[in-house]
Symmetry: C5
Subunit: 360 residues, 5 copies
């Protein structure tokens, strides 16, 4: 599962950077896109402009216009682009480093002229049945939003469509509302993941109730690990959104506050679901273990019943298989049928005993 950049990610990071001074700009992480793609969108209530830029310099004039400018960069491996943006909007070197380090913990930094946010976007890969994560950095200032993605994906396309078609209130609001819309889109992605995991849990639960197998255990274990990893992403997400909501930065207008509160409520809802799923999975493990031991019990019961009935009977037939010269019973005419009678009696009374003990 690639969701858990935990030890793996850190490992790579540190190995790469050891010996470099803090602040050196190196892209850490998988190179996920072939070519860096720069998309620019400029709008206000009346105008709308969109273009694909070749170089980052093309973006800057747009940024200085009074309209809201959204620069979206897909692909982080061209370090010079990040560097130029950094110089243009005067970002602290550590922030540039953070944008490039894709193993960052979700966090928020509040500067006077802009706010920097790192988040994890999660995708459910239908083919491999795994959760994939990508780092999204968002910088927004008075009239611009710059977003960095690791690869080109289309999660922000519906948002572009909304801006293009002048739906909703986004064209009337500022850059902070656009940043909120990006965050909201990311948080919505978590719900989709939860939905998928929820379906998986229900599937496993059904199998577990019907026919538990060692595979079931491994599935539960896998889901548990995913929940642990999801949890790892969600808690810092909550912190970030909460910090943003409580922020007193002048970049966030009053009318955006209620939307931030709304997205905060959604992160809480995600956390609630993660915690509940963890509880449910723990409960499932208990039930699984009990089912297994129940099954074992039944097998043991059958063995016991068969063995306890036939062991004494086998002994009896053994007795009359002995070759002693003087065994009077052997010469009796009714000896054979009598011994059958005795054995039937023993067998039946044992069955009665078992029924009384409620074993069968």
């Amino acid at each position: 599962m690639s969701l858990g950049p935990g030890q793996n990610g850190m490992r790579k990071r540190r190995s790469t950077k050891t010996g470099l001074p803090p602040g050196a700009l190196v892209h850490i992480g998988e190179k996920k896109a072939e070519k860096v793609k720069i998309n620019i969108l400029g709008y206000d209530e009346n105008q709308y402009e969109e273009k694909e830029a070749r170089t980052i310099e093309e973006c800057f004039p747009l940024k200085d216009k009074p309209t809201i400018t959204w620069i979206n960069i897909d692909g982080l491996h061209q370090v010079d682009i990040i560097e130029k943006i950094g110089k243009k909007i005067d970002l602290h070197p550590l922030i540039l480093e953070d944008i490039l380090n894709t193993e960052q913990r979700p966090k928020i930094e509040d500067f006077e002229t802009c706010i920097y946010i790192v988040l994890k976007m999660l995708y459910y890969d239908e083919k491999t049945n795994e959760i994939d994560s990508e780092q999204v950095s968002i910088i927004f200032g008075h009239n611009f939003v710059i977003s960095f993605q690791e690869k080109e994906v289309d999660v922000f396309n519906p948002l572009r469509e909304i801006i293009r078609t002048h739906k909703g209130r986004i064209r009337k609001m500022g850059a902070d509302y656009l940043a909120y819309s990006l965050i909201d889109t990311i948080v919505d992605g978590y719900f989709l993941i939860l939905e998928k995991l929820g379906e998986n849990i229900e599937d496993v639960e059904e199998i577990m109730m019907a026919n538990p197998s060692p595979e079931t255990l491994k599935d539960i274990h896998k889901l548990k690990r995913r929940m642990i990893s999801l949890r790892k992403s969600v808690w810092p997400l909550r912190e970030v959104v909460s910090a943003l909501e409580r922020s007193e930065s002048s970049l966030i207008h009053d009318q955006t506050q209620i939307y931030l509160k709304d997205v905060y409520d959604h992160t809480i809802q995600v956390i609630d679901s993660v915690e509940i799923n963890r509880d449910v999975l723990s409960g499932m493990l208990d039930v699984y273990l009990s089912s297994i031991s129940n099954k074992m019990n039944e097998i043991m019961k059958v063995l016991t019943i068969i063995a306890t009935i036939f062991i004494p009977l086998t002994f009896i037939v053994g007795v009359y298989g002995m070759n002693f010269e003087f065994m009077p019973e052997l010469t009796w005419y009714w000896g054979y049928p009598a011994i059958w009678g005795v054995m039937l009696l023993i067998g039946i009374s044992m069955l009665f005993y078992f029924r009384k003990r409620k074993w069968i």
Copy 2:
């Protein structure tokens, strides 16, 4: 079980809304009622008026009177009604959205002119033995309360009866007291659920002590899941009531404060009970597992006793079933009775050994 709207609910929600701008008004959730029903109640200490409205416009003149007006709307699928109310009392679009989204987490929003509360009402469905939940939104201002329910149920009827018959102090108090009464009614519903679950726990416990079966395990698991889900509704409920109690809004009069504290105490009592029930269910699982392993132990004991007694005896009779030509014992006259004597001795001494070890 339909209590847990957790992943299911969110799933639906997100699938429905993906691609829509935030703020678009769509009813999310099951359409639980055929027709939207609007009930209006106007009262003060001296007057009382009640009517069934056909359109929402009928309600507005009443709202502007000095009397307290309670508008109750059953059914959320007629979006235009919600929209008209929103315009009339100047509600934020996000709130309208929240009213329509029946998968909302319980929350409270404090505006200057009104307070908005979302809660979950729980019902115990006797037929299916399941817990059903419905979202109730309450908006109250200086002289009006508007409540939204998903379907027509009669939980608020006793309250209407109290107002009608001028019982208690409700007619003398303001809109805040009416809102409190609605919340109190909802919290009371939680006690009924707890009562039912408590009964179920006791039933399962009785069965578990008398005759535990794999079914018992599934019942414990089911009750545990319900407790988890109930917990999910109760904790945010506590937060909402606590926020309302500590609110410094001018809409809440001093004399209502103590009633809010009372209902807050009730939510704490609900939480206490949920937590205790969770502890009790965990304990029951332990006891169940031990009972099962105890039962297995007893079965094993019987097997062991039968096997350890008869295996050596069967060996002995096997010995004298051998066909060696030269086996002196076979020709002895007392050989057969002697071997019986030896075998009895072995059997009895084994039984003594078992008794000494306290196995039987």
Copy 3:
């Protein structure tokens, strides 16, 4: 077990009150006493007066004297008495309701003229080996204390005796000190319960170490449930005492503060003990389960040893019980003793093997 009024109590309460307006005075709970008994005690440093009142009106003149007046009411089912007291000292209707509702969570309400406290008094019923609880409400003002009990018990008698005989410092102190003394007496009751439960735990532990049986498990489960219930009473008790200690009410004199701190320390001690006992009981459950599985292990070992020794031997004697015409060994003169030798060898070498594996 009657300690846990949890779901049961709430159930009754809600069923009784459903449909009544909040504030309606109804006695909820078992009617534990036949007749309501009113006991009045008036004292200051120099005087002392005590009498049994027939009606509650008799108490009031006393209350207006400068001396400290302690009115103790045993039995809550005569609602009019509570109502009259409520009117006399001008209590909020909700408080009257709380006094009558014996399923109240321990709490404190701080009014200007008086402080209202609800606590649970616990008794250990030696006959049924169960914990019984009773609700005690205490109202104290500048110069009076009114205490309500559900039934007539003698826990406060030693306190009366101390007042009567002018022992200690109680006669020199105010009503707040008397209230403290009542609370202290109640908290002391918790120590007695803990003592009893501690004894029970030690008894069960002893049995568990010596001869664990399925009964032991049920005992541990029962003790655990009692601990859970006790915990439920103790934590709110702590809150109440802590609120009282930190209270800035003018009704509590500075010199009483240190006594309240002392009783608060005691509640902490009770909580410590409850938590430790819970830990100990959890540990006992682990040990019990291991003991059971150890016992099973031993039984299995015996079975294995017997079976693994005799199954091959039985096979061997079976071989020479075959009726083939051409089996040379059968006609050898030393065949029979030789086979005995072989079998002894097998048996002994197996025993050696088992000893080497440390199974016997």
Copy 4:
């Protein structure tokens, strides 16, 4: 184990004091010393005086000198001594009561003229392998320290030696530094206990890894209970030292502050160790249980292999032990060797099967 005065101690306390007014001076606890011993030490930077007092009155003149006076009282059963000291330095009656009640929870009381501290001193009894506890009360004012111990032990002797020989900085510091030194000595005692328990844990762990037996389980359980009890003493100790460190009493000089911080760090270290040991013990229990079930598994495997090989073989020899008149195989010349060949084949192929399944 005598460490856990928990329920036992409380029990005694309450039984002894029931019916007495709060504040009555009674010595509660075991009488651990024969005779009360009073030791007085007076010093400043230049002088030093030490004597054994016969009566408590001898101490008082010394106390009024400008030098620092340390009065140490071993043995609490002479209530009048405590009473006289109480009058001399004007202690609150509840404090006197607390000194005498040896089941006190560690606590601190800050008066204007003196600070009162109760702590538990722990000893490891090498003979009985148990932890013994003793209550130490420390009262210190501007120029005096009075310490109360239950019995005469020599833990404070090294400290006396340091004062006597003018080592370190103690002779230059005030009474607060002496009090700190006493507390530091007590906290150091906890490290010794932890060391002993740590050794015990390592011993048990070694045994567990090499040869787990039911005794091991009981040892783990015992160590766990000790850890629980130690924890009970340590957490309030931390609270006391923390309160002392944060105290704004004028009795504590600025230069002593850093030493108090140091001793506070030590208590944190003790808590860390206790919590880690608890975790380690929990882990050990898991490993123990698995070891036991592993052992069981191996035993079962041997049984299964023996049984599954020989049961079919025994059946085969049984077949040819039948006495049918018409069994052609019995008269074949190669019948007997052939049957041996068949049986060997079966046995060997089964062994192969087992190896393939990795059972042997």
Copy 5:
């Protein structure tokens, strides 16, 4: 494992120091280096000087220059060096003691003229597969940093190289930035440990899934203990870095603040990983235990199938091995084939039964 200085370390410490006054300077811990080595580095933006000092006195002139001076001391067993430094920069005796006591808990002390920090540096010893820890003390003032290590290791060499080659921004910043760089280097070491432990966990997990053995359990237990020990170092590390970040000392410049926040984020990331690993290890234990019980189940199933099939058949052949004179079946011509038919029928129908029960 040498990571956990927990009880062991404390033990040594206390035994060594018992009887000494607080403040006596003794080196506690293993003597890890042969000779104390003193390394001095002086730099500002333009100059750079580095030398190996023979005596500590050589360092002092450098310290008084306006350049930043970094004195690094490897080896703590020469107490006089520490003492001289203490006098030179006027350190509190307790701090000197703390530097020498290598069993210190990570902590920070904020003086006016300097800040003192103790941290644990962790190394992964590839040869023994164990975690080794070393105490690092850092003292920094306006223009100097003094660092103490237990032995000579080269972790700080990359940092020296960066200063030497004038890379990054370190030469432009003050002593606080140098101290930050040291801390950052230490925290980076934790990531390396986590990486190693993460690899170990993955290795064990792989083995566990493929072929769990009792060794696996011991490995899980070992990893769990290491995680517990790591956790013990990490939490106080977080506290130290957090205190440093929030410190209002004038020694920390504003522009260093953001770097401290960055290193704080890293400690949080370490803690997150430790907690997740603990969860994962717990989950692995559950899976391991279930795997073992699954394996047992399979073995039991084989035994049961073999036994339940052959036990009745063996009985049947036993019947016809009896020597009764009058057993008509024995003389039937088709008796022998008939009995084979019956036995085949029984065997096959049993196999069918087992398949129906899904046992095979």
